[in-house]
């Protein structure tokens, strides 16, 4: 009897783990990934999705099974067993969530580090870097530069130098300025494979820069110049969405980021550069 119970529990647990892993690996809930940290993000998502499925399915099956198995037969007015607790069992189900949570925490810390999140962007060197990259920022960046996901994630296969772009967020638009080429644009154009550093400022209220396909979001906070770095990996056009309630037209505050192959990006620079238009 004891052995049969043990075997049943083991089989159920194995089936549950396999179900969770299958679901996590085969059910796609995410849009395509187009930045270097999208793949890292997606692997974290798979792990969380697998564990979540195991726990949820397991608990629901246990609950539904109990409700059927231990339902009250009509006419039965007696009580169930007078079990008030079981210390070993309680230790087990304190330990299981603790271990799961610890694992998830350590794993997501690792993911976060690989994304470059632990790079302190508000330290002195980053501030100098931001100030050098953009002299106009120097006046407003009185003390701190606030950062989101860090400059160079370890996974970032970026080549060449960093491309700085100034982002101004206002009700209800994003404006992009390329300081090196002196281009101002309503859309963000970036080359695939090169690290881009956004220097973001909000004119009025809090906005947020979000590209779902990049798995990146950063609030743009008035009074606090913010740096956000990413490396796009996949050519195409993706939405830029404002993700912080910013007023009546918040839902309409959208733009696009166009990721070019490097040659196409050079062509775009050529076409839009104000110098080239005046000379021709």
């Amino acid at each position: 009897m004891q052995i049969r119970t043990t075997l049943t529990v083991l089989t159920a647990a194995t089936a549950l783990v396999l179900t969770g892993l299958w679901v996590g690996n085969n059910v796609n809930m995410l849009p395509i990934g187009a930045s270097s940290n999208a793949a890292t993000y997606d692997s974290l998502f798979k792990v969380l999705f697998s564990i979540g499925t195991m726990l949820f399915v397991g608990i629901v099956i246990l609950l539904v099974y109990s409700l059927f198995k231990f339902r009250r037969r009509s006419g039965d007015l007696s009580d169930g067993l007078a079990i008030e607790g079981n210390l070993p069992l309680e230790i087990v189900w304190t330990a299981i969530p603790a271990v799961v949570v610890l694992f998830v925490g350590i794993y997501s810390y690792d993911i976060y580090e690989r994304m470059g999140g632990m790079v302190a962007l508000n330290d002195h060197s980053a501030m100098d870097h931001a100030a050098m990259a953009q002299p106009a920022m120097q006046a407003s960046a009185s003390s701190r530069v606030w950062g989101g996901i860090g400059a160079a994630g370890m996974d970032a296969p970026s080549v060449g130098k960093v491309l700085p772009v100034e982002v101004t967020a206002m009700q209800f638009a994003f404006i992009f300025h390329y300081p090196d080429a002196n281009i101002t644009s309503g859309e963000l154009h970036v080359p695939a494979g090169q690290s881009v550093e956004l220097h973001m400022e909000a004119k009025d209220v809090i906005h947020a820069f979000w590209v779902p396909q990049f798995r990146l979001k950063q609030d743009i906070i008035p009074g606090q110049p913010t740096v956000l770095s990413f490396t796009a990996t996949r050519a195409g056009s993706y939405p830029i969405v404002c993700a912080e309630l910013c007023g009546p037209y918040h839902g309409g505050m959208r733009s696009n980021v166009v990721v070019h192959e490097p040659e196409a990006y050079s062509a775009w620079l050529q076409q839009n550069s104000p110098i080239s238009t005046t000379t021709t």
């Binding site: 629901v60 609950l63 009580d79 067993l81 079990i83 969530p97 009074g223």
Partner: protein, 540 residues
């Protein structure tokens, strides 16, 4: 029984009959029902506002109400549902009704303060709703009222909103002080703390959170109102203020607020499950420690709402870990509830259906919650419909389901009549299907690029939004069987008797409805509120 002597107040001067529900009654049972009915009216108002939101979102363009109105509606929806429905009902409503019974007292510790706490709510609610009509424009900056947006939207509406929330926060603090005093100081002689029904512990923990964190919100909103009225610069970056400081202060209250909404529900479920499963509550002691662990951890996790606000890396790490660890005491509670059911004799009535659905919904919301606690995960889905789905699974799938379950469980005690089971099951079925249809698709929408608080969206998201809106419609319809049930039962419901469930907790050891001062004779000493399977049946 030394702190209060309610017989001085509850004598012949108080109105009798139905009029007492409109009076400044000092009877904790009257006040409890006042909270419940008042809260339910605001639930219907908040639900109608949700109906406006889901109607607008049934199509991808902004075509139902103006964009300004839409922002007013979403602000009012959140504020009404949190401050006028869930918090007052699970704390003030069931708390006032049940806690004096559970500690063996004849009333709350401070009956007058109790009545004042309730009577702050209707004016605050009317003030909030009326700001839409009198002030020209109601608050438009969400229930979070982040500056600088809340400084630039129409000032009158925002100030009325602040005033209303301050009144409601005051009411909440009065209630919290009263519960702490009642549980700790008004216990019947001979009744030990570790013999109290679990809901007492839940309310003690919740009240500690209320008393510690609500004053912080009040102070923050007063500073915000200075910024609006007197043009000070606490949170105005143009005047050297800092908007992130506001977010820290706001979430220092508003994350614990989640536990203020959820812990009492945990307590109520802990009362309902043992009665209908005919088994003792499993692991009483660990349940008590879990509540207190959640209270402690709940106070140190607020910045997980600000992972994209430019918080420094060490802070992100600390709040990820603290938040994740709340899953441990919460997990203990859920496993203990499952163990309570295991081996019982379960009657799957309406009260149980809602309570068990609560377990399913809350586990789902808890799992997405642990995912959201992870900074890298959160950075993608923060401020999206994923979060909207997540917190509705917690506060609606969790707390509101428990409120309905509790209504079926305690209605016989409130009125002396049983609610109709068939209508109850219909109510459950519509609510459960509607709820999941409404909020499950929102997780996918958030992951794939739909931000929250928008009146228009990418047409690619139309189908799932329409499914979500159909779910909302079902939820609206689901209130009809409940209302019909309550009206029909009041006319010719089955008479319940003192103890229709054969329950052991003290509120069932008196008549239904109970007399003023709860028991005609001495308050009973109940030291084993969950002693099922070991005592003789309590025969009605």
């Amino acid at each position: 029984m030394t702190l209060a002597n309610p017989s001085d107040f509850n004598g012949s001067l108080q109105p009798q009959g139905w009029l007492k529900y409109f009076s400044f009654s000092l009877d904790h049972k009257v006040i409890g029902l006042q909270y419940l009915v008042c809260g339910f009216i605001f639930y219907l108002i908040g639900g109608a506002l949700a109906g406006v939101i889901r109607t607008e979102l049934a199509s991808p363009i902004s075509d139902f109400v103006s964009r300004e109105t839409y922002n007013e509606v979403l602000t009012l929806h959140g504020t009404v549902m949190i401050f006028l429905w869930i918090v007052p009902v699970v704390n003030g409503g069931f708390g006032n009704y049940l806690i004096p019974f559970y500690v063996g007292a004849r009333d709350m510790a401070f009956p007058r303060l109790n009545a004042v706490a309730f009577w702050l709510i209707p004016p605050a609610g009317i003030l909030l709703i009326s700001s839409y009509f009198i002030a020209g424009a109601a608050a438009q900056s969400g229930w979070t009222a982040y500056p600088p947006l809340s400084l630039t939207t129409p000032a009158a509406g925002q100030v009325v909103w602040i005033l209303s929330v301050l009144l409601l926060g005051g009411s909440s603090i009065f209630g919290g002080i009263n519960f702490i005093a009642t549980v700790l100081k008004l216990r019947r002689p001979g009744l030990k703390l570790m013999q109290l029904p679990m809901y007492c512990w839940a309310m003690l923990g919740t009240s500690i959170l209320v008393v510690l964190s609500t004053p912080v919100l009040a102070g923050t909103l007063i500073l915000l109102s200075f910024d609006i009225i007197a043009h000070t610069g606490f949170f105005n970056p143009a005047l050297g203020g800092n908007v992130v400081v506001y977010q820290h202060l706001f979430w220092f209250y508003s994350h614990p607020a989640v536990y203020i909404m959820v812990l009492p529900a945990f307590g109520l479920v802990s009362e309902i499950l043992p009665v209908h499963a005919r088994k003792p509550l499993f692991g009483y002691t660990t349940m008590v420690y879990s509540i207190m662990a959640i209270v402690f951890l709940g106070l140190i996790v607020w910045a997980h709402h600000m992972f994209t606000s430019g918080t420094p890396p060490w802070m992100r790490l600390f709040f990820t870990i603290a938040t994740s660890f709340i899953a441990v005491p919460t997990g203990i509670k859920f496993f203990n509830w499952l163990a309570t059911l295991w081996g019982g004799k379960i009657a799957l009535n309406s009260a149980m259906l809602f309570s068990c659905a609560f377990i399913v919904n809350f586990v789902f919301g808890g799992i997405t919650g642990v995912a959201l606690a992870q900074v890298p995960f959160d950075i993608h889905v923060h401020d999206t419909y994923f979060v909207v789905g997540h917190f509705h699974y917690i506060v609606y799938g969790g707390t509101v389901f428990v409120i309905f379950g509790s209504l079926y469980h305690w209605y016989p005690k409130f009125t002396g009549r049983m609610l109709n089971e068939d209508l109850g099951r219909l109510h459950f079925l519509l609510t459960f299907i509607g709820f999941n249809l409404c909020f499950a698709p929102q997780h996918w929408l958030g992951l794939n690029g739909m931000p929250r608080r928008v009146a228009e969206y990418d047409p690619a998201f139309t189908t799932l939004n329409q499914i979500s809106s159909v779910g909302a419609l079902l939820m609206a319809i689901s209130t009809l069987p409940l209302l019909i049930n309550v009206v029909l039962t009041a006319i010719n419901g089955k008479v319940a008797g003192d103890n229709p469930w054969n329950a052991l907790t003290p509120e069932w050891l008196t008549s239904s409805p109970p007399p003023v001062e709860n028991w005609l004779g001495e308050a009973p000493l109940v030291t084993e509120p969950y002693g099922y399977g070991q005592k003789q049946e309590v025969t009605p």
